[in-house]
């Protein structure tokens, strides 16, 4: 599953120093669980995103280990503290070795 994967991230454009902001992430991925069978009764092999991380200026915010029970198009909402202006980097790790990244910068005023 390397086609049609599109990460979408929502981060406020600016914050005050030390403020806690809410981040929403969504990535389009079918998250094949390995439980389903095709029309001939063969098990469709598992193909999921198994890890998601969010970092701010190199410091970790959240690190999620994902299992097949996470729904199609994995969605996460969490909160982060913004000590200074910088950049959030979001990384998704696919079972097939692919790594998807996205980044969003935030200003401090």
């Amino acid at each position: 599953m390397a086609s049609g994967v599109k990460p979408r991230v929502k981060v406020p454009k600016s914050a005050t120093a030390g403020e806690t902001i809410t981040i929403k992430t969504l990535i389009s991925h079918k998250m094949e669980s390995g439980q389903r069978k095709d029309g001939d009764g063969n098990v469709i092999p598992r193909s999921i995103i198994n890890r998601f991380t969010c970092d701010f200026n190199g410091e970790n915010v959240v690190d999620v280990t994902m299992e097949p029970a996470i729904s199609t198009n994995p969605y996460f909402q969490f909160e982060a503290t913004v000590p200074a202006a910088g950049e959030f980097t979001f990384t998704w790790y696919d079972d097939d070795g692919d790594v998807y990244t996205d980044s969003k910068s935030i200003a401090v005023n």
């Binding site: 669980s33 389903r36 299992e67 029970a69 729904s71 994995p74 909402q77």
Partner: protein, 138 residues
Amino acid sequence: MNLTRRETLALGLGATALALLPIRASAAADDQIAAFTGGADIGTGDITLTAPEIAENGNTVPVAVNAPGAAAIMLLATGNPNPAVGTFNFGPLAGSHSVSTRIRLAGTQDVLAIARMPDGSFIQASATVKVTIGGCGG
């Protein structure tokens, strides 16, 4: 010991209630819990798990978990073929120790959230979700 009819009935009811009370997690879920906690006791504390009482579609069940101060939170769906759902590890910049996501549930079951606190203790919360259409394909 002579029991009146009323006492016998009360005893029977009590025994039934006792047998039903503990939330029975599947063996696979127990293994997952043991791997996460290392066999430590799990208490109760400041952890909330928000899940719908009835989920029409087991493919996307929104759940939210909040455990102030937790280092990591593990989510378990005790009735799924593979009970593990995910583990959330919070880094130094986590604004609050809460997260919401969407999960798959195979059928009506208990969803468990276990949080590891920085001092090494564990607390848990659970919620029963009734699922109309299971989310594991067929």
